[in-house]
């Protein structure tokens, strides 16, 4: 097999890990609160700026910068629910989606206002690993490993802790949980904060590989939505697998044609699958 194709596929697999993490966060929020955060990828953008400023401008070690960024985006997620979603929780679901669309406008423009449209890089040079003729970037390998660890941590949290159990329960039956003595509001706020933290973690991993600019959310947003729909909105396992399918299509398509055409290809695939499996790839 062509070594460059193999390299593209490996890179696709590694990117898939981060996309899966993003899809997990979005699916968690959708599954529990029944809201789609259109601005989810722009929370990632905020996180990337946080890493950039703390590390490059204030000279924090990269580990601390990342932890602070995750915390910051988690707080941001908490605030998004408190300020934007909570007042319209009983409105038509599409209104909530559109309100976070307003947030998308706000975050992108505010970032432009604060930082300008320059592309900024955290300037961390990580080594490249060589296996035979295959070159793999260490940053991507690490991103993949951390993303998988994050997914496992989320799984354990949802399975093993009281709060996690409450979150899963509320996603199964919203009405009854209030009667069981679970504070819905608290669960919603916690879920939003966890969703934010996952966006923050993705931001740290993406900051290692990509330049940050105010519109980077547009690069990862649409593909994340496609992945979530493909996996079945709210279905975390489906979204996890869909992330790897989509990232492979983009990687291989990008190898044979161009990145843009690869996205067009991914979307065509998406439409075809919608015809066969409208409720996601794992649906019966």
């Amino acid at each position: 097999m062509d070594v460059y194709l193999l390299e593209a596929m490996v890179n696709g697999l590694l990117l898939g890990g981060v996309l899966a993490l993003l899809a997990l966060g979005l699916n968690l929020i959708f599954g529990v609160i029944d809201v789609v955060w259109i601005a989810y990828a722009d929370l990632v953008m905020c996180g990337m700026y946080a890493v950039y400023w703390l590390h490059v401008y204030f000279g924090w070690p990269i580990e601390f910068a990342c932890i602070a960024a995750i915390a910051a985006v988690a707080i941001l997620g908490f605030l998004v629910h408190l300020i934007i979603i909570e007042p319209i929780l009983s409105a038509a679901p599409i209104n909530q989606l559109l309100a976070t669309g307003g947030l998308l406008f706000f975050l992108q423009s505010f970032a432009t206002l604060l930082f300008g449209t320059d592309f900024r890089n955290i300037g961390l040079r990580l080594p490249v690993i060589q296996i035979g003729n295959l070159y793999i970037s260490y940053a991507r390998l690490m991103a993949f490993a951390v993303a998988l660890a994050g997914a496992v941590a989320l799984y354990l949290f949802l399975r093993r802790t009281y709060l996690g159990t409450a979150i899963r329960a509320i996603s199964q039956d919203r009405e009854i949980m209030g009667l069981m003595g679970v504070n819905e509001r608290r669960i919603y706020l916690m879920t939003s904060a966890i969703g934010g933290a996952l966006a923050g973690l993705s931001a740290c991993l993406l900051a290692l590989q990509y330049d940050v600019h105010p519109f980077i959310g547009n690069t990862f947003g649409p593909i994340t939505f496609m992945i979530c729909v493909l996996g079945g909105l709210g279905n975390m396992i489906g979204g996890f697998f869909a992330a790897f399918i989509m990232s492979q299509i983009i990687a291989i398509g990008g190898y044979y044609a161009s990145t843009e055409l690869a996205y067009v290809l991914a979307f065509s695939f998406f439409i075809v699958l919608m015809l066969v499996r409208p409720r996601g790839i794992l649906s019966a």
């Binding site: 319209i88 309100a99 947030l103 406008f105 505010f110 649409p222 939505f225 729909v229 843009e260 996205y263």
Partner: protein
Amino acid sequence: MNKIIGALGLGILCVIPFVMPVYFLHLVIQIFLWGFIYTAWSLMGRFGFVSLGHGAFMGIGAYVPALLWNYYGLTPWIGIPIGVLLSVLLAIIIGYPCFRLKVVGHYFALVTLALGQVVLLFIVAERDVTGGSLGMTQKIAGHSWYALQFPEKTYFYGIVLVMWIMGLAIWRWIDRGVGRQALEAISEDEEAASAIGISVLHEKLRVTIISAALTAFGGALFGQYLMYLNPETVSGIAVSLQIVFAAIAGGMYSMFGPTVGSFLTLALTEGLRVWFGTNFIGAANTIYGILLILFIIFMPRGILGFFETLRQRRTGVAVISTE
């Protein structure tokens, strides 16, 4: 009474190009152009099919006639219908499976959102033909009906005004037709609507096709007027969301709502641009974003809808909720 106001309004609109400075005329043309596109979107939006991908139709409508003109010298009189047809085709390709398989609400919004982005990426990818993200300009033919190019703004004002009135007429036609009741029933409960004999697929597809065709037409005239196309300004998420928000801010349940939305958003962006100058790029859109969030939280029926509700409450007429 309404007729007198209508006639008076039309009279004023006909006088405008002869008394207004060019800059304001430019703004008024844009208000009508975008007002038309927002109206086209609200044909679907008011029935709960929230499309976040109308930038796709607008992009195709704008690029196809421009490309045909530049490469084959084909007049926009033929190029625009081709662009509109291609948009309709795309609307059917996406709409048919979506409606057939009952892809609604969030799913529909996300599918269409991705659609808008794909058209944008396709235009960028074919950079050898379309100029990519640098955009493209049509070959200039001077004042020509054949090329549908007019350096004088007055001509375009007339064209855009006629188009806008046509858009309102179509809005009214759907509003008054039997289809409206069918569509409202569908947006309330699809299962129930199909149980009483409404062809859900047919009704949805019909309004989607009309909406896509009008959006593409608006995009085409937008291109002919500005004589410069950029994938970011006619396609993609930003434009798609802009369409949705302006229509909602103005009020998508009223005939003039989307146009009011067009006026408001343009007045806001132009006003803020003049106010802040170019020192604070993004300041205008930052305030815009905050206002959008406030609108959706406090006035989900838009400005016109808000005032209508107030008036109805005062006169004691029952408020019919279409949300």
